[in-house]
Symmetry: C2
Amino acid sequence: GFDTACMLKTVAHRLLQPSSYLRPASALLRSVQPRLDHPSLPPFRSLSMSTVMKAEEYAAALNVARPPPAVVGQVLNEVNTPALCVDLDVMEANMKAMSASIKPYPSLILRPHAKAHKSGEIAQKLVREGGAVGVCCQKMCEVEEMARWGVEDIFYSNEIANQQKADRFAQIGKETGTKLSILVDDTVQVALLENAAKKNGINIDVIIEVNVGQDRCGVEPGADAVPLAQSIINASHLTFKGIQAYQGWAQHVRDKEERRAIILDKVAGGAKATIDALKKAGIDCNFCTGGGTGTYPFEAESGVFNEIQPGSYIFMDADYGRNLVDGGRAFRDFGFSLFILAEIMSKPNSGRAVTDAGLKAVSLDSGVPTAADYVEGKGAVPREDLTYKSGGDEHGIVIVSDEARSSWTKTVGDRIVFIPGHCDPTVNMHDWLVGVRKGKVEKVFAVGGRGPGH
Amino acid sequence: GFDTACMLKTVAHRLLQPSSYLRPASALLRSVQPRLDHPSLPPFRSLSMSTVMKAEEYAAALNVARPPPAVVGQVLNEVNTPALCVDLDVMEANMKAMSASIKPYPSLILRPHAKAHKSGEIAQKLVREGGAVGVCCQKMCEVEEMARWGVEDIFYSNEIANQQKADRFAQIGKETGTKLSILVDDTVQVALLENAAKKNGINIDVIIEVNVGQDRCGVEPGADAVPLAQSIINASHLTFKGIQAYQGWAQHVRDKEERRAIILDKVAGGAKATIDALKKAGIDCNFCTGGGTGTYPFEAESGVFNEIQPGSYIFMDADYGRNLVDGGRAFRDFGFSLFILAEIMSKPNSGRAVTDAGLKAVSLDSGVPTAADYVEGKGAVPREDLTYKSGGDEHGIVIVSDEARSSWTKTVGDRIVFIPGHCDPTVNMHDWLVGVRKGKVEKVFAVGGRGPGH
């Protein structure tokens, strides 16, 4: 036990440096324990980590975390590429814009989705400065990261289908005192959660997911929710909180009125039908959550929703930038704060440059990234004369338009920035998010909730 | 310095447990140092890590590495999902099949590409048991991982365009004694490498990349290589080794004869024209490297290539599985050893099941993954009656065909496996690769070279 205890002490010592975002010592000590589990210490993690890891595995666990691409005080040209960066001025302006946008709905709760940033530190910033009540998470590693940073209200907006995961979830709630809520769409999940909550002597709020057109998880709108709600009510350690009505692909319907109609008709309509069916069966349901960056104004105006879950607005991405608003203008309520900083490795001719931002630095699932200029205080400003083309795992090709060939003189060793097509899976590729203000690194955030989610 | 020294000692102690794959103590101690840099210790990394990290950053660095989803001895049903798994019987059979396949070319060197697996331990296995001379890497974090595991011959098959990266590369060579080679297509890169090699008192072998049709990096075939080769020859610490002629998208041309024609005409032809131009200018060029899993038999038969770089063959993926060979049969020289183990979180009806393998567990850049059964000793065996549909970041929807609705009875809590569309970026999403033999976890590999590559 000596080595582990020593390492644990060291890590705890480091963590306990004064920092306004950090939680009390005991919670933090427990939060680093998963990494350092040992029979001489109380087990924190019931699943894989409760079994003692071998020495090589400890070492490997320490080795796989990548060092950050930047240190505080560097300018963008000194940052190691490819790096995921966020312009802090623009991110903070986006936070303010969201607060202003929902001001007409004073009873509406803002619970930003952590699957966008996956950083406990950013979640805390959203709670302290952005009007957030807490977070949504969609994977256990996001829940762990948020709890580790002291987020006190976590909604796991997804289903859990096995006892070990349910136990882990309840255990985090017990150990950190975090208020927990979670989705279900099946009585199997209810039984697992009740078991876990009971074992850990805590209460979990449970929300029923309703399928309002995405055809993913969720019971169908209406009376299907009744027996499920009843099973939650019957459980001794669960509380029935309400319903979720979220439609993922509606976020990206381009035309504003079409997007609005989907939310008001199918989404709010399906939610309303479910609430009515529950009421008819004698079950009170006063809570409905949903909405994302593309549709939240419509959930807000519908009158059916008490809570919205937008996540991407703090960053924006190229795909959200293709949404339209009144008069067919591009959706620019939020600025492009997030960008990939890339380096030109090769420039074979004036029509082509090859950068180091390939499939491992930027996700292509919602289209290729948009080439941009970095402008101090404005973040990433799209360019139309440069087009990204996939060059495989570690190459991003820039195609230079005929008109730009003489004026765009960047060459080998120069930097270029890209706005990701889809922010969530792009952030997920990076261990670190470099916070930049006026071209200088001010803060490096750990993307602690990164990973496939097990 | 106390805490860092203590932590370093602890990590070193763990690393120095007997293990046949590990290098001498001094090299290992240096290899963990980037994570733990401190002014009281000699700096290992010249770039970002040479500046002292703040205490919170140290702590965050330790926290971001995810714990493994499995421990040795578990059966697949106990593994935490979503998990990336490899069937070891099939992977070893794939290694044997490659050795057998290139036996007719005894002078052909096999240098498997590490961008497929990104694991130093698997690279060592390929050197020890798979006939590999060393590895190809395409990012610095892959180079670091390979050097850390003691791979003694590393080819960085990409361009480096800044002095800090070039210095880091040379420093790894100096510190570990690893034989280094690298690509160039511009004299700027040659100058950076010469500078770095000189500073570190080592020699680097340099290979000229020739653009043989992918339109990515590389000089055009023919005489363009001559002044570049001359600049390498003129450098005091560089050796001109030869050329690379690699065509990425040719790997995935479905028809065998079409694929073969591209390699024999454009690829081997472009390589030959370049070698001839160099010879004409009085520069001897006896080395040509290239080829991938989709085309390597044609590079082998061309007579122009001395070395091949296939990587995916140890895993296979759904996209390579769509290539055709003689008689229009599907390419099955290698078995599907790699698969994502997923859990069914929700099954709203008999035509749809929702799993926990979404955009953060499997890359969609080369098409959706293929639903499969896990069969002991055979790995993943594709199914045609189940289709994967993207459900976003953390949801993978399974669409059940009409015919399969009554027979496929899996439900909430059950497991299903998927063959990734593209192995490289999928492996890149995972910190751990679970090695399975006959349904049981035998080994957990760290994907130590994972990351965007800075």
